[in-house]
Symmetry: C2
Subunit: 128 residues, 2 copies
């Protein structure tokens, strides 16, 4: 079965509430997760909400990483979407889980873009 992308959906509960409203920490953590996965960072964008909560994206050549935090619940939704075989999204997932201090976490992995096996997958030939 050929798939163009691998999409990890992390449910991170019982996180360290202190850090979930810390935009600077979250930005450096998501960038570190991208680097840990071996991804090429193209850009990032973060927003902090009032009274609390942060949304952030890191766009990578291999797709993207996203987090949305709810400090009031100690909850973070995080996505790691990658294509190609040169990256290791699992490493990014482990780093995020650890750095956010989640004590109750789960993950779903979804294959995106499942094509006919007769087609050649050459998405790795892309360059930025």
């Amino acid at each position: 079965m050929n798939a163009l992308g691998k999409h990890l959906l992390l449910e991170l509960k019982d996180c360290d509430k202190e850090v979930l409203n810390d935009l600077s920490f979250l930005k450096s953590t998501l960038l570190a997760a991208a680097t840990e996965a071996g991804a090429t960072v193209l850009g990032e964008s973060f927003h902090r909400f009032e009274p609390q909560g942060v949304s952030g994206v890191v766009i990578i050549a291999e797709s993207h990483l996203f987090i949305h935090t709810w400090p009031e619940y100690g909850y973070v939704a995080a996505d790691i979407f990658t294509c190609g075989n040169s990256v290791q999204p699992q490493k990014a997932a482990e780093l995020l889980t650890e750095k956010l201090g989640s004590k109750n976490h789960s993950m779903i992995e979804i294959q995106r873009g499942i094509l006919d096996t007769s087609r050649r997958l050459d998405s790795e030939s892309r360059v930025v």
Copy 2:
């Protein structure tokens, strides 16, 4: 069952290949999808790859919309992640499916941040 976020994952196959490499069209289409859903746009970022393919995100106050296109396969992975009850992500999904001309599409809906029902959900009280 209380959930903080609704996440729609669209698999759009057999799309109009001509438009999948058109960054300007894709940007306006994703922004239109956000507007169609009733979302508040905070920012956007798009990248075109060589020889083909576009990645783009629209960050909204209610979370995000994302697309990754593979013109060579006529395939688009699109995500619509929203929180709160003031938006209608299904409308964004319908607009994307139509504008990208997908003749073979499917969608998964995932509830994100399912918390104890004893906790009050006040995420809609956030402001930008």
